[in-house]
Amino acid sequence: MRPIRHYLRLGTHAEKDYLLKLRDYFDGLFLNANLVESTSSSLAVFATTLGKPYVIDPITYAFALNPRLLMSQPKSGAAPQLRSTFASLIDRYQLPPDVIGGRPITTTDLASEGVWAPFVDAVRQYQADRLTEAIDGDAAFLTASSIDANLRLAPEMVIAAYFAEERGSYWSEFNRQSINRTLERAAQPVAAMLAYDSSRLSRTEVLSLATAYSQTNVEEIVVWPADLDEHLASSEELNAYADLVAVLASAGKRVIAGFGGFFALSLALRGLVGLSHGIGYGDKRDLQPVLGGGLPPARFYVRAIRDAVPMGDLALLSAKLDVDEFRRRVCDCTICGQLLDAGGVTGLVEAFTETEDRASARGITAVPTRRVYQMSRFHYVLNRIEEVSDLRQAESFNVVRDRLVEDADWVRVTLGSQPVEHIARWVAAADPSRAIGQ
């Protein structure tokens, strides 16, 4: 069996229920430091209840972004303010407070060892202690069981303070020093986060990063090709990502995809050993957060193309299927299974396309019901759990490839070529027989 660790990311507190219900089917929890900082007590209780190993992403890269992205926009027209969560992280990370808020942090700000070393130590310490500390500070939780809980609340590994790698190796020296110092001082296993802007770095530049990180002493590397959308990415980007994973793995590193969908998962055949993703729409994360925009439309994850499609496409795909064919071709997860049992294929499509009227500035609009969002998210995660299980057991890349191609051919007949175009790029990039750099 191929070892693949499956981590789920908790994006908001509303997602806790999914993780609790699915707790037997995944291996660990990823948390972002901003969520930890804003609701540490509640997350500490949750992490204890869940009883899974967890990792905190310190999101230090955020302080090198335009500070406007870290600010809240008051509706009153008042000047934007640094969000209290980020202000609090700046304090806890011992970052120079005068810099942050006015401009992005630079390598010059962190040039002196008297500045960067305390920052790197504080980021490590934060991950090691923050949840335990939150429990200690929460008198209501100080019961006999919480003593055991405290013991279990240490993170599975700590991620060294990091910034996204850019053209010209702007942050490379800082990242290297941060990894080394964290390795020297951490009580837990250490991971490096290799974040890079996928659309801006050439394949050669990504390969240089792979070589550079191969030469560090860290064993665990979380890779985050920011801005890479697996379904839309060019062959060049996908090949670079696959090569990065292969080079790191061949250097003995344990590589985990920080955000990824099925393409990242298929890199298990090139040495990837872990995958982390969110509950809904969580296969990617951009460096710069997408602000506002409201709830995305509900979509249905179609495993045959390893992508989520509009509900109308689900109806189209299902229109000519009976229950058995639906189970075989589309989905047989617990959610779909129950809907099929209750109302057949039609009942399932009806349930996933249910809407309710809401008043909006444009008049009355129909939006998917809460139940639709819940069902489609459970269905998505259940499918991903199955996919991880399949990849763990897959005999060879050829088996994975043949299934992908056959599934895509089936979908193409009904939905046309556009929704399946990524499959050819994926199989070419993930193929272990493709030489690095080819």
Partner: protein
């Protein structure tokens, strides 16, 4: 000479023409978790959904096809432009029709076949029922 700069201009022109022909038609009708730009019911009871797009006919076809399970006919609606190449066969293969709109109004360029192959009768019935409710609500709000 293009008189339509935005999709809602197309929608309005289409709705006016459909109503003038005796169909009941409304804009922005929720169908299968998304929205049909225009949805109409003929006196015969036959239903049709219309996907209005200013450009990108390929995308228009795939979006329009999502309505196939819930209505009898589906059309892509686009402004008539000189030199625009949109092969009729692509619309026929997609199971949708094409309507082009110019100063003289909308005209059917590629007739839509019946969607029988993809129609899910229960969902069709649900759409018709929702249409009735929408029309009633709309007239209540605007009376």
């Amino acid at each position: 000479m293009i008189m339509f700069r935005r999709e809602n201009g197309l929608q309005t022109a289409l709705v006016m023409a459909l109503r003038a022909s005796g169909l009941r038609a409304i804009e922005e009708f929720p169908l299968l978790g998304s929205v049909a730009d225009v949805f109409a019911i003929a006196p015969s009871g036959e239903t049709a959904a219309y996907e209005c797009k200013m450009s990108d006919w390929r995308r228009a076809i795939s979006q329009a096809r999502r309505h196939l399970p819930v209505c009898d006919r589906v059309y892509v609606v686009m402004p008539r432009r000189p030199y625009a190449v949109m092969p009729a066969s692509s619309f026929v293969e997609g199971g949708v029709g094409l309507i082009l709109v110019d100063e003289a109004g909308p005209s059917i360029v590629v007739p839509a076949n019946s969607t029988t192959g993809y129609l899910i009768p229960e969902l069709h019935a649900r759409a018709v029922k929702q249409f009735g409710t929408r029309v009633a609500t709309f007239s209540l709000v605007h009376s």
